[in-house]
């Protein structure tokens, strides 16, 4: 099912358009409060926006200009909201069976589907429990099972794995990937809100970056993450991004930083971004004399261990260094350093 959405919610400062091709999965990423959940609510019909037009599979479901409005239950759109909201008066199986039942399945059929979903998500032992007695992560898993059970034409998932423990996330991600693949083959569509780059990479075809209620970048997931145009997407992909104005050798930031780059650059004066991998950033205590063109003084803000390496965050860009280097250079928040990057490691592209 293809989706075409045009949405304006002035009170939430949301104003955007989104298109999803039939049989694909769109990822939505963006900072807290950007408007991701608002988009899902508008698609599901749990929010009635002042200005909107929604087409699913060519059928106009919502058009505020003509007053057309399709209520949620008639849309064939399923939503897993950010809060689990399991029906407190029903046990876990009945919660999961609720969707299939509502869409006309027999009781036995619905319970069979429910048990299948619960088994898939590793919750079989919770089947007879009441939601009030579940842990946070257990409730999140059951809510996911409930959202998957009716297998709607359009499936909306709002951070389905935020409450899950590290050990099950990879496994659930694999299962979700299978589910989405199965759905894709049937021409069904999904929209997934996530704060995790792996979810984006493994589960979505297209990725839209939402900031302040606007889509600031959208495209194939790989492209959006590898050539980020927003700080947010760069951070998500683990890349550094600097915004500024293109110059002949690279880019000028508003803070006065001069970034030297190689390769093609946009015309001078155009707004542009410079992208560089933290692994390409070296940390020195003194400014080195050698060839690298980019030497930026910086202050360490945080050091994050990553196995045998560590990510050193500074007020300019982050550097990926060995843990030995962290110890040798006594890197810790507040320490003044010089960041050194070869121009060949910096790519500048226009916006």
């Amino acid at each position: 099912m293809s989706i075409a959405l045009r949405l304006q919610v002035p009170e939430r400062d949301v104003d955007l358009a989104l298109d999803v091709a039939a049989g694909s999965t769109l990822g939505l990423v963006g900072p807290n409060g950007a408007g991701k959940s608002t988009v899902l609510a508008a698609l599901a019909g749990t929010l009635r926006p002042p200005h909107a037009r929604l087409e699913v599979d060519g059928h106009v479901l919502v058009d505020t200009a003509t007053g057309r409005w399709t209520p949620p239950y008639a849309r064939g759109v399923g939503l897993l909201a950010q809060e689990p909201l399991l029906f407190p008066h029903l046990d876990v199986v009945a919660n999961v069976a609720f969707g299939p039942r509502s869409r006309g399945a027999s009781r036995a059929e619905a319970e069979r589907i429910a048990h299948d979903r619960l088994t898939e998500l590793g919750c079989t032992d919770l089947a007879d429990r009441r939601p009030g007695t579940l842990s946070g992560g257990q409730a999140a898993r059951v809510a996911l099972a409930r959202a998957l059970a009716p297998d709607p034409g359009v499936l909306l998932l709002d951070e389905p794995m935020a409450a899950l423990d590290a050990a099950v996330v990879p496994q659930l991600r694999t299962i979700l990937a299978q589910v989405l693949r199965r759905r894709r083959d049937a021409g069904r569509t999904a929209v997934l809100v996530t704060h995790d780059v792996l979810d984006a990479l493994l589960l979505t075809d297209t990725l839209a970056v939402v900031e302040h209620g606007r889509v600031v970048d959208v495209g194939p997931t790989q492209r959006v993450l590898e050539q980020p145009r927003s700080v947010f997407a760069a951070e998500l992909a683990g890349l550094n991004l600097l915004r500024g104005t293109a110059t002949s050798p690279g880019l000028h930031t508003p803070e006065g930083l001069v970034v030297h780059a190689s390769g093609s650059t946009p015309p001078a004066g155009a707004p542009a971004v410079a992208v560089l991998d933290p692994a390409a950033v070296a940390v020195h205590l003194e400014a080195p004399a050698g060839s690298p063109r980019n030497v930026w003084p910086a202050t360490v803000t945080a050091v994050e261990p990553r196995g045998r390496r560590a990510l050193v965050r500074t007020d300019v860009v982050s550097a990926d260094v060995t843990v030995d280097a962290v110890a040798d250079l006594l890197l810790e928040p507040g320490r003044r350093v010089h960041l050194v990057v070869k121009a060949s490691e910096v790519q500048v592209h226009g916006l």
């Binding site: 239950y73 064939g76 969707g99 039942r101 509502s102």
Partner: protein
């Protein structure tokens, strides 16, 4: 999983109540309980068995139970939809409608009875049409049920509307996104969720119907076995033997307490 070893159960702790709360609560309870106890001291216990088993008492009790049950059912059938409409929709004049629904509460019951006469009576707004159809409401048990429903309906509506508002409609929204049609949502989500409120409302309505006097005597009259409910019987007894009336009231009290404890007890356990 290992089962609890001792008798003690794990509890979630609520924010404890401040101690001083018990003082006004006890005062309030006393205000209600002491008069009932005082009433007990006035009962002539020796007359009681004869009085309670007299034919007129039994007829009145049986009629009261039947009519109060019937009007509770009517209140549920009409009041539940009303509460949903008031709590879940918005339309112009809704505030006025809500105020109107509360009217039977404030109208002296006798005036309520006059209003019902003006509606269903032979010369009433609808009564004349009903008479053409061969239906006579006045002086019938139907009239008793109507009178009780009229005074009891607001209790159910108000109490359920409050529960619906407090419960909010987040679960109803979730159900809709799972594809449930409005009727399904109502039956499988909204109603089960507000069941405690519905039960309280029904208990209130039943209690009010059971105690109803003024509207019944005005609208339905008072004929043993047909329209003379227990409260009417009590009033009549009072004219000749006030102590007997008090004793008879006790019967009403016992019935009410039984019904309430049974209903609430079952609810508490689930």
């Amino acid at each position: 999983m290992q089962r609890g070893t001792g008798a003690r159960r794990t509890q979630r702790t609520a924010g404890d109540l401040p101690r001083w709360v018990w003082l006004p609560a006890a005062l309030g309870a006393a205000l209600v309980v002491v008069p009932v106890v005082a009433l007990l001291t006035r009962v002539d216990w020796s007359d009681l068995p004869a009085l309670l088993t007299s034919e007129s008492s039994r007829a009145a009790l049986w009629l009261s139970l039947r009519t109060a049950a019937a009007s509770t059912v009517l209140c549920v059938l009409l009041g539940v939809p009303m509460a949903f409409v008031l709590a879940r929709t918005r339309f112009p004049g809704q505030a006025l409608l809500r105020a109107f629904v509360l009217l039977p509460l404030v109208l002296p019951p006798v005036v309520g009875g006059i209003a019902l006469l003006a509606t269903f009576g032979r010369r009433g707004l609808l009564g004349s049409s009903l008479e053409v159809l061969g239906v006579q409401v006045a002086f019938s048990t139907t009239a008793v049920v109507l009178a009780q429903t009229f005074v009891a309906l607001p209790f159910l509506v108000i109490s359920l509307e409050g529960s619906l508002r407090t419960a909010g409609h987040r679960y109803e929204t979730v159900a809709a996104t799972l594809g449930a049609r409005p009727s399904t949502v109502l039956r499988r989500v909204s109603l089960p969720l507000v069941l405690p409120g519905l039960v309280s409302g029904a208990v209130l309505a039943f209690a009010r119907a059971l105690g109803e006097f003024g509207a019944t005597i005005t609208f339905a009259g008072s004929l043993q076995g047909v329209t003379r409910t227990l409260p009417l019987e009590i009033y009549l007894q009072r004219e000749t033997d006030p102590d007997a009336a008090v004793a008879l009231s006790l019967l009403l009290v016992v019935v009410a307490v039984l019904v309430i404890v049974l209903v609430r007890g079952r609810e508490g356990r689930s």
